[in-house]
């Protein structure tokens, strides 16, 4: 880095900029490395894929991104008027993250690939590959009540099957 010879003022400017940058990054760090704040940020995530990717960033992010409340938000995003006992029941049966990853996600993936799905919510292309930077039809698959209900049924069946396994039947 070449210092301009005759610009002491410039040097000061650079220093200041650097300081500002450092401050900013420290603030950002503070947010992103702080569990609660990170949680608040992740609450705004729209879809499961993003949240799942977030969980891959670091151990701390994983802890936060795997919080059931975040996944509950994702699962019930398009489900108007969720039943009161939903949280209790789902948590008992394995949790929202499992609900999404094992049951809701395959359902959405399949229904987006088969265009003749009769689900009431419209499903647009779900990108299976990392999106090309140019045009990105940012998938807005909607998972309404029917999809969630079906996934819940499957979750309960799976739980039941696993129960027998544990009992050593």
């Amino acid at each position: 880095m070449k210092r301009p010879l005759a610009a002491v003022g410039d040097i000061n400017m650079n220093k200041k900029l650097k300081q500002q940058e450092e401050e900013m990054s420290r603030e950002a760090e503070a947010v992103l490395l702080h569990d609660n704040l990170l949680f608040e940020v992740l609450k705004h995530v729209d879809d499961g894929r993003t949240l799942a990717s977030a969980a891959c960033v670091s151990r701390q992010w994983k802890r936060t991104a795997q919080d059931e409340r975040l996944w509950e938000l994702i699962c019930t995003k398009h489900y108007n008027s969720t039943p009161l006992q939903l949280r209790v029941v789902v948590l008992a049966l394995g949790g929202f993250r499992r609900l999404y990853s094992s049951h809701l996600w395959p359902l959405l993936r399949q229904s987006s690939s088969s265009s003749s799905s009769s689900s009431p919510s419209s499903v647009s292309a779900w990108p299976c590959l990392p999106p090309a930077p140019a045009e990105r039809p940012r998938s807005k698959a909607r998972w309404g009540r029917d999809e969630v209900n079906l996934s819940l049924s499957l979750l309960s069946i799976k739980y039941f099957e696993k129960m027998s396994f544990n009992r050593g039947k």
């Binding site: 039943p83 008992a92 049966l93 359902l107 009769s118 689900s119 029917d146 309960s156 039941f160």
Partner: protein
């Protein structure tokens, strides 16, 4: 295995099409080819391509040699053991010192040997051509005659002479121009065999084929074999119907061979049907499986592999859920408890319904178990545990009964203010084996005064009075079912793929049904499936009227199917308020709901 330009051959068929039918064999991995072995030739399956090539080469060579040269060959071949086909050919070829001579070759190789009056497939051509060559040799030299199995009925053809039927099919591996026919020199005319008819009228036209003689080709005409297989199955069933057991026996053996030549679903279906027919013929009736645990296990695998059972459960549950809307005390009577896989989903749905879950009672009925474990109770305990986890008040009672007809309404202890639902998945058809049983059961059901009766049954008529009709129906039905199984690479439910074991077990499960439909009679034949229309008549005469399954059930079912690989093939259809799940155009199971009117 490739098929070489069948279109370029003459596809003339004639009345003698029955003759000259050959069996094509598929390779056996390793070991001696079984069809050749039957005929007395030991040919390793791995050598087949080579043998084929050599035979072609031989043909070439023989064609180029002048007529008298042949008799010389004939005398020489005594020294070689024809059962070792490969080396025999080798020696033949080396003796002949081949110099392919195109012109003379043409005249010989074409015409009578390429006579297609017999079969429309490529294979027969070379069969005939080589047949003649081979036969001349062998009958002159070694005098070994194949004994044709005379047990076969009139439908079957005798295997002409020394059946050296190479699987390879190339047409004379040289280019040749269509030539005016010239019958093969008379030295062959003495051979009487059922194939002589084929030598009669020569080919009209043989188009030139590009030769790729170096490429070993094994042709398995499985399509034609498939047709033959079906015909044989039907013929065998007819023979059984007419009590012509000898013919049936012969046919069953043939079916066994043909089945092996097929692949995939057809093979499995044919094998099961052949086994069932054999049992019927030899009177080795299968005893009804007492090991219900094993049957349950098989059904579990079937549950995982394909959507039929899940469809049944989901649609029935939806109907029950709707019938229970607003009710605070519910009681379900399940006629076939098995592993209880239907109920977790219903419990969960009830737990989440607006207004909270009702208090839930379940009465499960099952057959007596032959090991010391109380399966019914275990299933009940598991369900109770699940219900507790999701905070649903749960009460369970298990009943052991040999037949549903043994039950009566008072056993169920229906309490005041309870809403009852009766559920039967693939249970009612078994009652048709005993006269009067179904009426009694329906009577009991109406005494219980259920809010809804949900019934899922196989959509097929396998209970006709005529054996042949039942056979035909079930052949079509199970073929479709096996087809759908084949396509089920797996269901993505819970991210688990269907394993090969699941698939195999499902096939065994279905195979048992096939065995029962075909081989059993009287009270043993419990797989008495009937169609929805037939059931409707029965229910209506017992005082029940249909309840329309709503669009929720339809939607859920359709979504469910999307999760199964091969989901495109499955079709959910609505028929008079009932839902059917089928494979392509054929409905296979039907869910219906009924209530007392």
């Amino acid at each position: 295995m490739k098929r070489d330009n069948p279109n370029q051959l003459n596809f003339a068929t004639s009345s003698s099409s029955n003759k000259g039918k050959m069996w094509c064999e598929e390779q056996d991995a390793g070991g001696v080819d079984e069809l050749f072995a039957v005929l007395g030739y030991k040919v390793k399956s791995s050598d087949m391509a080579e043998v084929a090539q050599k035979l072609e080469h031989l043909e070439e060579v023989m064609g180029s040699v002048q007529q008298d040269g042949l008799s010389q060959i004939a005398s020489d071949t005594v020294h070689y053991n024809p059962s070792d086909l490969s080396s025999w050919l080798e020696s033949m070829i080396s003796e002949l010192n081949p110099l392919p001579n195109f012109e003379s070759f043409n005249s010989i190789v074409q015409d009578p040997f390429l006579e297609t009056s017999c079969v429309t497939s490529i294979d027969s051509h070379s069969y005939n051509s080589l047949n003649s060559h081979a036969r001349s040799h062998i009958s002159v030299s070694t005098q070994q005659q194949m004994v044709v199995d005379s047990d076969f009925g009139s439908d079957l053809i005798s295997i002409p002479g020394k059946a050296v039927y190479p699987p390879s099919q190339q047409h004379p591996p040289l280019q040749h121009q269509p030539q005016p026919k010239k019958l093969k020199p008379s030295s062959y005319s003495g051979m009487g065999s059922s194939n002589t008819a084929s030598w009669g009228s020569p080919n009209e036209s043989i188009s030139a084929h590009p030769i790729e003689s170096a490429r070993p080709m094994l042709l398995v005409d499985s399509q034609e074999n498939g047709i033959r297989l079906v015909h044989s199955l039907m013929a065998c069933a007819e023979a059984v119907q007419q009590q012509n057991m000898n013919l049936a026996e012969a046919l069953v053996k043939q079916i066994g061979f043909l089945a092996v030549s097929q692949a995939g679903a057809m093979r499995k279906v044919a094998t099961y049907f052949a086994e069932a027919l054999a049992r019927r013929i030899y009177k080795l009736y299968p005893t009804n499986p007492h090991d219900t645990a094993f049957t349950d296990l098989l059904q579990m695998h079937f549950y995982e592999t394909c959507p039929y059972l899940k469809f049944a459960h989901f649609t029935a549950n939806q109907a029950i859920l709707e019938a229970f809307a607003g009710k605070s005390r519910v009681h379900i009577i399940d006629f076939g408890m098995k592993q209880g896989m239907q109920w977790p989903a219903l419990l969960q749905a009830l737990a989440l319904r607006p207004g909270g879950p009702p208090s839930f009672r379940l009465t499960g009925i099952g057959p007596p178990s032959h090991d010391n474990m109380d399966h019914l109770r275990e299933v009940g305990c598991k369900l109770a545990q699940l219900a507790e986890t999701i905070h649903v008040e749960f009460d369970y009672r298990g009943f052991v009964a040999n037949s549903l007809a043994d039950l009566n309404a008072s056993m169920f202890d229906v309490r005041e203010g309870e809403t009852v639902a009766v559920n039967s998945i693939f249970e009612l058809h078994q009652l048709l084996a005993q006269p009067g049983a179904i009426e009694k059961v329906l009577q009991v059901v109406s005494e219980v005064k259920p809010e809804i009766l949900t019934v899922v049954e196989l959509e097929a008529n396998h209970n006709g009075p005529v054996f042949l009709d039942r056979f035909t129906e079930s052949l079509h039905y199970y073929s479709t079912l096996f087809d759908s199984l084949e396509s089920s690479g797996g269901g993505d439910i819970g991210g688990g793929a269907v394993s090969v074991q699941d698939k195999v077990m499902s096939e065994v499960y279905l195979g048992r049904q096939i065995c029962n439909v075909v081989a059993c009679e009287g009270p043993d034949r419990v797989e008495r499936h009937e169609t929805l229309v037939q059931w409707r008549t029965r229910f209506q005469s017992a005082g029940f009227g249909p309840v329309h399954l709503g669009s929720n059930a339809y939607r859920q079912a359709s979504m469910l199917l999307a999760l199964f690989a091969g989901g495109d093939g499955y079709r959910v259809e609505e028929k008079d308020g009932c839902l059917t799940l089928g494979w392509h155009t054929r409905p296979l199971i039907a869910t219906s709901a009924w209530k007392l009117i």
